[in-house]
């Protein structure tokens, strides 16, 4: 084992009612899973704005996971359907940018499914690990990622230029204010 | 569905005690417009003996049969491998599931197959003749083909153990009914009884009386079955396992002596029963190979002059 294993970074957006609660349940049940997923709590998966996903990729995420309530179970009636629709759209968009399908995942996880949080986080980590680091050239504003500090030189041809993402990110004229 | 030809895995007992089963199976399938073609160079399934020595090798034995079946029928569709002996059926099915699972064992098995130039792609599906009769050929086609309905014959179907356990693929593992439905289709009357899937003790492995491991235990188990079947008014017990059939049939005299209760229960294979209803010649069905076979007078006589047949 000469080379350290690639540790992907995954940003997760969890709705507070189901998936975030399920993650808490996984904790209470001491279910061990890969530490690569960092959850951001939202009130509803319907709040997930496509720009969040793109921003996460731009800021160094290798994968993005969206977790919401099962269909029909949304605390706000239909927020998860909105999430689903945006997810489908995003998938198309990402493939245009050359970002592999496996890097974005949507899962319905109910408050009772702590074990599913464990499973999905582990699966996603392995899946993204297999895909390798997201080869996205970042502007000078971003610092090099990871302890291994991948040099810019490593990024071969075919890497997605951040500039390409910019128009999408700016779609609504909304950069972090 | 017409003229489907299935790949057939006879199993080792087809050359011995199970001969009548194989004969009647061919005859019935042919009459119903389904062909059976014996898998070339099939090998023993390993039964329960090989897993007692080496589980992975046991899988490999069955894996070869599955791969041979795939090799025989060009893709891409599924290949139904019909195994009549329940022991073989269970062993092959278990191997099929092991191959299909995404486990190190599966990888290893596939690699081993590759070493002899074979491949399992997942097309081979192990099926039982009862499954085929019920779900492929269908009860309607069987009903249509019946020329001599076995009206009034009370038939206790004996499922044995491994047809429905541990995998209940086409029937319930506790209260199986698939054979009863076939019995009904040929005009006979199914007898419901609680022991229809209880072990007969005759598995070659646990030691039927012939093997002699535990003659008393086996006699007790078989006797309980026969006694219960006759108590429920069965005229005949039909089964699908060569070993069950032999075990229930072959030792009735010994049981009678041991338990002081006369026994003369006709035992046969379900395919023989169906064959009789379809009007197939008794000899073709291997009826002459049975010891106690006899159907009650209630059956209207057919053109062959009755269905009384004793070997």
């Amino acid at each position: 084992m000469s080379e350290p294993r690639f540790e992907p970074r995954i940003v997760a957006f969890f709705c507070t009612w189901c998936t975030y609660t399920a993650a808490d349940l996984a904790g209470i049940s001491r279910m061990q899973y890969a530490p690569n997923v960092r959850a951001i709590r939202l009130m509803c998966s319907g709040r997930v704005d496509p720009q969040f996903v793109l921003a996460a990729f731009r800021d160094g995420a290798d994968g993005v996971l969206i977790g919401g309530c099962h269909p029909g179970d949304c605390h706000y009636q239909q927020g998860n359907y909105n999430a689903l629709r945006r997810f489908e759209l995003l998938r198309l968009m990402l493939s245009d940018f050359g970002i592999e399908e496996g890097r974005l995942r949507l899962e319905w996880i109910s408050a009772a499914e702590g074990d599913k949080v464990q499973r999905v986080c582990n699966e996603m980590t392995e899946q993204v690990r297999a895909l390798g680091p997201l080869r996205l050239v970042r502007g000078p504003r971003r610092r090099p990622r990871g302890t291994s500090g991948q040099a810019e030189a490593e990024r071969g041809p075919g890497a997605v230029e951040e500039a390409e993402l910019a128009p999408v990110l700016e779609m609504g004229g909304r950069e972090a204010r | 569905m017409m003229a489907t030809t299935y790949t057939y895995y006879p199993g080792c007992s087809a050359g011995g005690v199970g001969r009548a089963f194989t004969e009647s199976l061919y005859a019935v399938f042919e009459r119903l417009g389904a062909g059976l073609e014996e898998l070339e160079d099939w090998n023993c399934c390993g039964a329960t003996a090989w897993p007692s020595v080496d589980q992975r090798q046991a899988y490999a034995l069955s894996a070869r049969n599955l791969a041979l079946a795939e090799d025989r029928v060009p893709g891409p569709g599924p290949v139904d491998l019909v195994a009549s002996c329940t022991g073989c059926y269970r062993a092959l099915l278990k191997a099929q599931k092991a191959l299909e699972a995404a486990t190190p064992t599966s990888v290893r098995l596939r690699d081993a197959l590759a070493a002899i130039g074979l491949e399992f792609t997942g097309r081979a599906r192990v099926r039982h003749p009862v499954d085929i009769l019920l779900n492929e050929i269908g009860l309607d086609r069987i009903r249509e083909a019946v020329v001599r309905p076995l009206t009034g014959v009370r038939v206790a179907s004996y499922y044995g153990c491994q047809l429905v356990r541990p995998f209940a693929t086409f029937d319930d593992s506790r209260n199986p009914t698939s054979m009863d439905r076939l019995v009904e289709a040929v005009g006979a009357e199914p007898v419901d009884w609680p022991l229809k899937a209880r072990c007969c003790g005759g598995s070659c492995y646990c030691g039927g009386p012939v093997i002699g491991a535990m003659p008393e235990a086996t006699m007790q188990l078989s006797y309980a079955l026969l006694r219960e079947a006759s108590k429920r008014g069965a005229d005949v017990v039909v089964t699908i396992c060569p070993l069950c059939e032999f075990n229930l049939e072959g030792f009735q005299d010994r049981m009678a002596k041991r338990f002081g209760h006369p026994l003369d229960m006709p035992i046969g294979f379900i395919t023989q029963l169906i064959g009789l209803a379809l009007g197939i010649d008794e000899r073709a069905l291997g009826i002459h190979r049975l010891l106690h076979w006899r159907l009650p007078e209630r059956v209207p006589a057919g053109e062959e002059g009755g269905v009384h047949a004793r070997a």
Binding site: - | G16, D41, A49, D54, Q55, L61, I116, C199, G201
Partner: protein, 224 residues
């Protein structure tokens, strides 16, 4: 070894219909031989704490044996538990306790008919039949199996025959078996053999497959 004491009745008394005969019928007048009772206590040093894990690793889903609640469903659905020295439930308990020697010397796995009733009925989904097979494997490996009992002998004869020929022939298996266990059965079952022969159900020709080398290569490859 405590094995002797716990299983003092092994082998020769296996074939007793204990569960079935009516309580009043008693021992059928058999004389009970007095035996000194040996120390049956289990000292931790005699137990193998890793045994359950060893079995669990042998069997797919084997780790479920830790979930066993000792309800006895397996024993009561087992058609042969009345003929076992340890009921399946007890076997699992002893496996879990690490009573390695007792378990590996038990007749129970060899009495099992592989009917899978226990596996199907177990409320905790313990793959009991597969565990029985695993125990057989280990006891064959470690030569703790009952030497004169038919099933292990049969197993070996069967496996040898398949290994050599690719198929088995019932008549030959039986013949081999009688010679190795109880030649008297040859005489006793001669009538049955004769009858089967007349019915055309006694395969005399020893079957074998064509590509026997393939089979051997396969078996070697999978064990490699």
């Amino acid at each position: 070894m405590p094995v002797e004491s716990v299983l003092a009745t092994r082998d020769h008394e296996v074939d007793r219909p204990s569960g079935r005969s009516s309580p009043r019928s008693g021992n059928h007048g058999k004389r009970t031989r007095w035996r000194p009772v040996k120390d049956q206590s289990k000292f931790e040093a005699q137990l193998d704490p890793g045994f359950a894990a060893e079995i669990a690793a042998e069997v797919e889903g084997g780790e479920l044996l830790h979930q066993c609640i000792q309800c006895g469903t397996c024993s009561s659905v087992c058609p042969l538990s009345a003929y076992m020295d340890l009921t399946p439930r007890r076997l699992i308990a002893m496996t879990r306790a690490g009573a390695r020697d007792d378990v590996l010397h038990s007749m129970t796995p060899w009495v099992c008919a592989s009917c899978y009733a226990c596996t199907v009925e177990c409320p905790k989904r313990v793959p009991i039949t597969e565990i029985m097979h695993a125990l057989r494997r280990i006891s064959l490996r470690e030569r703790t199996y009952p030497r004169r009992f038919t099933t292990p002998v049969m197993t070996k004869a069967f496996v040898d025959m398949i290994h050599d020929r690719g198929r088995s022939t019932e008549s030959w298996i039986s013949l081999k078996l009688y010679l190795r266990t109880n030649p008297a059965l040859l005489v006793k079952n001669a009538g049955i053999a004769g009858r089967l022969f007349r019915q055309g159900r006694l395969g005399i020709t020893r079957a074998r497959i064509r590509w026997r080398d393939d089979l051997r290569t396969l078996l070697e490859a999978v064990s490699a």
